[in-house]
């Protein structure tokens, strides 16, 4: 790994660049097995909970039948009738029930209907089999293009697309891309334990990304006030967006059972249930019509994007926003029309996953740019050079980019580090000289991407997050935020940032537990916003704390904080987010600064394709990512490597097939991700083009690498074989269909219907 200071910009010392880099806070406990994940927590007398789900994709629920031969006194049974609050999982829209009521509509195969709890697992297992659901089938909708239920839609227009496409000398390139589901596959399954309190309140411990989302869901569903709902994050084994939203559902289920039994109830999903029921990356259908001049100038983009949201709204409208805004890719095109919609199908709801709509949109955009380059006989590198955003470029929402628009920097760094032109000339020569009986083919592919840092549009302004630092009466420095650690490094970089401001050692700074009764709502741990937004709040709070203490003691903070605590007592600084100056977004016209800043990424992949089987080996990926500022370069590099590998899986093998709206790949035996043997050599290059309005310059890193890996790999497959693979994953089945001229598999992400 190398860290590159952007050209023309001095690598000024910035806060938090502590050397040597601190170890991961929670690392030793995880390595030595002392870290307590949800299923490790012991609550004496706890019962085990289970969820009875629908087994049909669309139906009216007529009755819930309990086998009368069984002694139901041994088991707690909860249905929609037992919900004290409102029967909705609080989210953007309130359409998803906690449990489907009798008479209600079942909208997907894994929909929760009945909850059971028992003192031991054997009883629970027995009882599960003795609950049956009587249903009346309704016609299901599986094709997103045929769905008439629209969760959200957008139309972005810049210039005159039709006129530009019709102009003389413009080559028009058209294609339709389809991408399927992707599972987050965090190492720890979803898990929640609810503990009823003597005062009628409820405490929930669980594996989650967003404590205050779960808190709000508990208040709504259980009819509790703020003080009577408490959510505590246990050690969490990965999230990737998969624990942004569904934990609210599981917490409600555990809490309803806990309230019924008066005991703690453990709701621990096994891998099968987690795969079968929880949210996935949205499938999408994306049509591009692009006008390009022979000199490589892209003059028009006409894009239609449809996301399959699954059965309920969940986070889909926000995913659609990001997909829409990113749909053109990082290119300054004068005429753009992006029409998008997210629709309902009778499949389990799709939700957040690293990238949040951008990987789908940018896969299509990047493949399309590659097609345009081929159509005019230009190198994929050169066409990107000509069209990539520069400072002062204007995006389709009318956002004017600042000096940190580092598209060209990441592109050139990637091209140089991968020797793109040289390798591409070699693969072209190899392809030209290839005999009919060649065994393998090598290819190289390039992709350029951008990722809006933090929430889309006015999200952050509306959220008004708070982060706090406390100097306690006994002289401890404590960070209070709701930002969760799930392996990405929150607990390491926050103390690092605060310690650098205060001039103390990171070990002198404590992290308060992510417990809603202790910490302020600093927003969800999503959207690559933790380092940029919450980290920025903490830097501001630390500066205020330092000024307060030094004002009182007249001495440097690092020499006086303990004395100040003793003499003056505790000091707490609450820092609330206020919008970055000069940045605003108008939701009504969908225009303005869609993001405070953009991160920029390029990836170059080299692949080898087995020409007999179309198996793809991804040999190497050069990943160049502009993260604004790398607070902890080692953790940053880990994020880029992990995101790149997830993108390689997305590109090549990760696929969910559905029949009658049910996932067939609902076990680790059938849902495969790359193993270490499938992992390419990944060379990470971090570029720092700081976000000028964040005190520490950071833009976030979590999602950025996910946007570019898949189009780079699929472009490399094209370079190797000459075949354009428009559907993800570019599986051997799809490649062989292109090579042998046989029928390809059906569209990814769309359910087939079983024979009657």
């Amino acid at each position: 790994m190398t860290i590159q200071a952007p050209a023309g910009r001095p690598a000024a010392p910035t806060p938090g660049h502590a050397t040597p880099l601190p170890l991961r806070r929670e690392g030793p406990a995880k390595l030595t097995g002392q870290a307590l994940y949800t299923d490790d927590l012991v609550f004496p007398g706890a019962w085990y909970g289970a969820t009875i789900r629908s087994t049909v994709p669309h139906a009216r629920l007529l009755a819930i039948e309990l086998d009368p031969a069984f002694d139901w006194g041994r088991v707690a049974v909860v249905t929609a009738d037992d919900i004290a609050g409102r029967n909705v999982v609080a989210s953007i829209a309130e359409d998803q029930p906690i449990l489907v009521p009798v008479g209600g509509e079942i909208r997907h195969q894994a929909e929760p209907v009945v909850l059971l709890a028992a003192a031991d697992r054997d009883t629970l297992r027995e009882a599960r089999r003795l609950v049956s659901l009587r249903t009346e089938p309704l016609p299901p909708v599986f094709d997103p293009l045929a769905s008439t239920v629209v969760f959200a839609h957008h139309a972005l227009v810049k210039g005159d697309v039709e006129a530009a496409l019709a102009a003389d000398g413009v080559v028009v390139v058209e294609a339709t891309y389809r991408v399927g589901h992707q599972e987050q596959l965090y190492i720890e399954n979803n898990a929640m334990i609810a503990i009823p309190r003597g005062d009628g309140g409820m405490t929930v411990h669980g594996s989650l990304q967003c404590p205050f989302y779960v808190h709000r869901a508990l208040r709504t569903g259980l009819g509790l006030d703020d003080a009577h709902a408490q959510v505590v994050q246990a050690e969490t084994g990965g999230g990737f967006g998969g624990k942004e939203e569904y934990p609210s559902m599981i917490a409600l289920h555990a809490a309803l059972l806990a309230r019924r039994t008066g005991r703690p109830v453990r709701m621990i999903y096994d891998r099968h249930e987690d795969l079968a029921a929880t949210t996935k990356r949205h499938p999408a259908v994306i049509r591009h019509r692009t006008g390009v001049r022979r000199d490589g100038t892209i003059v028009a983009q006409d894009i239609e994007l449809v996301l399959d949201g699954g059965a309920y709204t969940t986070l889909t409208p926000v995913v659609l926003s990001r997909a829409t805004i990113h749909a053109g890719g990082p290119y300054d095109v004068p005429n753009v029309r992006i029409r998008s919609r997210a629709v309902a199908t009778n499949t389990p709801p799709n939700g957040a996953f690293r990238g949040f709509g951008a990987p789908q949109a940018e896969f299509a955009a990047e493949m399309q740019v590659g097609r345009c380059a081929e159509a005019i006989g230009m190198s994929p590198l050169e066409i990107r050079r000509r069209n990539a955003y520069r400072a002062a470029g204007v995006t389709p929402t009318g956002q004017v980019l600042h000096d940190d628009a580092a598209a060209l920097e990441v592109l050139e760094r990637a091209a140089e580090a991968s020797e793109f032109d040289w390798v591409r000339a070699r693969t072209a020569a190899e392809r030209a000289g290839r005999g009919p009986r060649a065994r393998t083919a090598r290819g190289i592919g390039l992709a350029l991407g951008w990722h809006g840092a933090g929430f889309t549009g006015s999200g952050e302004a509306k959220m008004g997050s708070v982060a706090s630092i406390e100097l306690t009466g006994d002289g401890r420095i404590r960070i209070l935020t709701a930002s969760t650690e799930m392996g990405q490094g929150t607990k390491t970089i926050f103390p690092q940032l605060v310690a650098a401001e205060l001039g103390v050692d990171p070990d002198d700074v404590e992290m308060a537990p992510q417990d809603t009764s202790l910490v302020p709502d600093s927003g969800p741990t999503v959207a690559s916003r933790t380092a940029m937004v919450v980290g920025g709040l903490l830097v501001h709070a630390a500066r205020r704390l330092k000024a307060d203490v030094e004002g009182r003691t007249g001495r440097p903070f690092e020499l006086s904080w303990r004395d100040d605590a003793r003499d003056h007592g505790p000091t707490r600084i609450d820092e609330r987010f206020s919008p970055y100056p000069g940045r605003s977004f108008d939701d009504a016209t969908y225009s303005g600064d869609a993001y405070p800043a953009f991160g920029w990424a390029a990836a170059v992949a080299e692949v080898e394709v087995d020409l007999d089987t179309a198996e793809v080996t991804v040999l190497s990926v050069v990943a160049v990512d502009d993260v604004g500022r790398a607070i902890h370069p080692v953790l940053c590099e880990g994020q880029v490597e992990g995101g790149t590998l997830q993108a390689v899986g997305y590109a090549t093998i990760e696929e969910i097939k559905l029949v009658d709206g049910r996932y067939l790949n609902d076990r680790l035996q059938t849902y495969l991700i790359p193993t270490s043997l499938d992992a390419p050599r990944i060379e990470t290059i971090l570029v720092e083009a700081p976000f000028e309005d964040a005190p520490h310059g950071a833009k976030g890193v979590g999602e950025l690498p996910m946007d570019v890996g898949a189009p780079a790999v699929v472009a490399a497959i094209h370079d190797a074989t000459g075949a354009w693979i428009d559907d993800l994953p570019a599986s051997p089945e799809r490649i062989i269909a292109a090579l042998a001229g046989i029928a390809p598999p059906g569209p990814p992400g769309m359910s087939t219907v079983s024979a009657p």
Binding site: R125, L677, P732, A737
Partner: protein, 280 residues
């Protein structure tokens, strides 16, 4: 339903046969398939389990009477390390090396792979291609069953409920060549989409050709039409064309969660062609 059915743990074959005769038991070797089925509640749990792990007489690899004999409880890891297997059945070594992870290879056995009778079982096409004989034992004594008749239908075997698989006999044939190719979703820990094992002699015409596939039918199969197209034919491009055409006409793979019928058929033809070209 209980996750843990009662388990009998005999210390000798005689005791095992006695238990089998007294009541139906599902024999358990390494357990790498059965335990997944039990904990995942995939299908009904067996009423009783017969744990074979202590039957050391079913372990070991030896060369005897012109054949390589591999005890049913021999693990994949032991086969991978065996010089005798490397010398006489390199395709078997190649096949077991592709099964699961190291932990699975340490626990899983060849007998378990044979008796699990999965159409995707990676050793099964090898046993078909090498004319293996499966030796079973029971209250009526021992009997030998050729691999070619051992898997009569989807997930079933030729054994009676009171019999156990004792060992696998692979005849050692002078001048026999072998090849193995597995196509999975990823480089390790993947169940096959297509698996091919072949054996032959050349003089220089093709002789004693055996071509076997897994994951392309309800059982592991021999591609007898492709074999017949080659048998006695000269090692020419035309013979290879005929063999591949015969294969494409005789295979009837299906779509499933792992792959498609179209891919399986196309790739079966391509990997057979490659194998035959390399052998010509």
């Amino acid at each position: 339903m209980h996750v843990e059915p009662p388990v009998g743990s005999p210390r000798s074959l005689e005791e095992a046969y006695g238990l089998l005769a007294s009541a139906p038991h599902r024999p358990l070797a390494g357990g790498t398939d059965m335990l997944v089925q039990l904990t995942g509640e995939l299908g009904p749990a067996p009423e009783r389990v017969l744990d074979l792990w202590r039957l050391d007489e079913l372990r070991g690899i030896r060369v005897e009477g012109g054949a390589l004999e591999v005890g049913a409880l021999t693990t994949h890891a032991q086969i991978r390390r065996s010089e005798a297997c490397a010398a006489h059945a390199p395709t078997l070594v190649a096949a077991v090396a592709t099964i699961g992870a190291a932990q699975i290879q340490n626990r899983g056995t060849i007998g378990g792979n044979v008796m699990n009778a999965s159409p995707a079982g990676d050793t099964l096409p090898v046993l078909l291609a090498l004319d293996a004989v499966l030796v079973a034992g029971g209250p009526r004594g021992e009997r030998s069953i050729p691999a070619v008749g051992f898997w009569p239908a989807y997930r079933s075997t030729a054994l009676a409920p009171d019999e156990l698989l004792l060992r696998v006999r692979i005849p050692i044939v002078d001048g026999r060549r072998q090849a193995f190719r597995k196509v999975g979703t990823r480089r390790a820990q993947a169940i096959s989409k297509v698996v091919l094992a072949a054996a032959w002699r050349r003089d220089p015409a093709w002789r004693d050709v055996r071509i076997a596939f897994g994951s392309v039918a309800a059982t592991p199969i021999r591609a007898t039409a492709a074999e017949a197209a080659l048998e006695g034919a000269p090692p020419t491009a035309a013979s290879i064309d005929r063999a591949v055409a015969a294969l494409l006409a005789e295979l009837r793979p299906i779509d499933d969660v792992r792959s498609t019928a179209a891919y399986r058929l196309e790739v079966s033809g391509r990997i057979l062609r490659r194998l035959l070209e390399d052998a010509s």
